[in-house]
Symmetry: C2
Subunit: 368 residues, 2 copies
């Protein structure tokens, strides 16, 4: 049983909060000082529905940090070790942000509107403050602000059909991790093929609260036969899909390599990035790994044990109804991963054996 | 009825979380990515107990941003317009942090350990990221980190008696907003006479999780006759006392003057602070004011109306059991405050008249 959440003006509401409540949101979390629904019916019912139909998610908490001005590209590139020099307008870049020591600050989606206009669609840390500090210290010609954008995600196998009914056939042309400005009620909403699930779908960057609510209602009225429901990022789905949560599965102490984000670090590129030198030399101390357990586990604590020794900490875990196994992510001591003899987690009923594997999970090769 | 809070590793637990749950915490909020209990019995029962006895609060979420190194004092002074040049070791400074435009970033308690060792005991924004950005940009010789300190507050009229029983008579010598290192279990805990209530008390900066839990238990075992209970910052008490919450009652858009923090801005001092020039010239657009209503109000929305026009937004509100009035803070348009004719708030049963007053509330002059 979860405790209650005391809502205040500090835990900000969104333009969709009354709709979300009316749709029966049972539990929330707080993300970027804003309400994010976390459960509607139950984690498992929400999960099956997401995998089979279509859901509308109030992910307003994916705040947009807008960077404008002459030095915008310079500032954004300083913040990430991913090479953005070839970024096309409207392209979405998943990118780690890292400090001078290579430690991660956040893992946003970066969207380039133009050379001097960027958005960082951020995870749960105040990236704006870091960007402002850098801009002030380096005396950059930029403006940094959190803008009034409230993303709505439409996720699930029937998301494309639903989005098409509202925005027209043109949305089919939007490639994965690309975006397009689409007219809605006389306004331009940026619509991207993206979202924090692996069930397919879109994110709509709502820039007008009233029109946003109108859009919410239209998605529901046009999606009745698709069994559309309000939903939210789902723990089960995202663990099965290997999607990481900043602040939970990775944090300030980790480099992108420790989180398996190697492909988003452009070590070979000639870029001016704060972290690139550190990332070339800093030793990788831990690695985020997957764990598979045969039975459903109620964890007693988060330690991962090997032969009586702690070799890692569990960061997320869930029962997988699809694969009938218990899954977890664990931050593991890099030296201990190769030499695993007797791996187990502590459950409330005793020790439970676990298999360690790379992320994302490859259920086929695991025989699941 | 409050919704549920879904707890994850991202909404961090504290060394005291199991104790807090065992004491019956009903509701939480999330503050600096960490659990902060918000209700035990009920807001009103918790309130009366705080005003009459003594409570132990898990305020681990008041994270300590530690700044060390040769340029520490320089960096801290850059961040705040409050003159810290005369700061004594161990003194606690409530201070707004402001950006180049005079906009507030946070309102921490700043503690000077030595010239090159400072703590910022922060409200709910990632001050560490701003400090890191500034340090990087200005190439300052500092280390900035969030350290493993979990403050425990002991608040209420019987707090001094309880703290004395644990730490000895010496604690009586600690003046308001001063601190002292006190031995506990062979360890040094910083103990300050401070806390987020006006009922008196102390904050203990626990730097050892295990000893902290031992201290928690000792406070309870030695406080039985004082009717000690677990508690938390209480909405009713803090509104009556005029204590502001960053992110709710004030934010990035406000200067300290707009929040009534005039006394914490050293406009006349010769200090190197990022915001001091802007604060000398930036117009004050809004002002945080107090509202008093005769009856208990269930707000329909947060608008404060004068003669049919919106002149402000309510940021916090509560029924005051002690004064039998409904109290609120409201961010008001500065031009409209003087000329108030027909002030009211929108309640779920219609318009309710309100009286506007300065903060903190002066109940005597209000005839309450």
């Amino acid at each position: 049983m979860n405790p209650e959440l005391l809502i205040s003006t500090r835990t900000r509401k969104t333009p969709f909060s009354s709709r979300v409540a009316a749709c029966g949101a049972k539990a929330y979390t707080v993300y970027n000082h804003m309400l994010l629904p976390a459960v509607f019916l139950s984690l498992e019912e929400d999960y099956w529905h997401l995998c089979e139909a279509v859901q509308v998610w109030d992910v307003s908490c994916q705040r947009q940090i807008e960077i404008t001005g002459k030095d915008s590209q310079k500032l954004v590139q300083l913040m990430t070790p991913r090479d953005l020099s070839q970024a096309e307008y409207g392209q979405c870049f998943y990118a780690p942000l890292c400090d001078e020591n290579g430690g991660m600050i956040n893992d946003p989606i970066i969207i380039k509107h133009s050379e001097d206009h960027w958005w960082l669609s951020i995870a749960d840390t105040d990236v704006m403050l870091w960007a402002m500090g850098l801009a002030t210290g380096f005396i950059l010609d930029v403006q940094v602000s959190e803008v009034e954008i409230w993303p709505l995600a439409v996720q699930g196998p029937k998301a494309e059909e639903l989005i098409k009914r509202v925005f027209g056939e043109e949305i089919r042309k939007i490639r994965f991790f690309h975006s397009r400005k689409m007219n809605y009620g006389g306004n331009d909403f940026l619509v991207a093929r993206s979202g924090w699930s692996k069930q397919g779908g879109f994110e709509i960057y709502v820039n007008d609260a009233e029109l946003g609510v109108q859009l919410w209602d239209e998605l529901f009225s046009k999606g009745v036969d698709l069994n559309v429901r309000a939903g939210c990022p789902n723990l089960i789905e995202r663990v099965e899909s290997g999607l990481l949560s900043f602040g939970g599965d990775m944090g300030y102490d980790n480099t992108p390599f420790e989180c398996g984000l190697d492909q988003y670090v452009s070590l070979e590129a000639d870029i001016e990035s704060l972290s690139i030198d550190a990332l070339r030399t800093r030793p990788v101390k831990t690695r985020l790994m997957g764990l598979v357990m045969e039975k459903q586990v109620k964890l007693k604590d988060l330690r991962l044990m090997n032969d009586g020794k702690v070799i890692g900490m569990i960061t997320s875990n869930t029962w997988s109804p699809k694969h009938s196994v218990h899954l977890a992510f664990a931050k593991c001591d890099i030296g201990s991963i190769a030499d695993v003899q007797d791996l187990h987690v502590n459950s409330s009923t005793g020790e439970v054996p676990a298999i360690i594997t790379k992320l994302p999970f490859n259920f086929e090769s695991l025989g699941l």
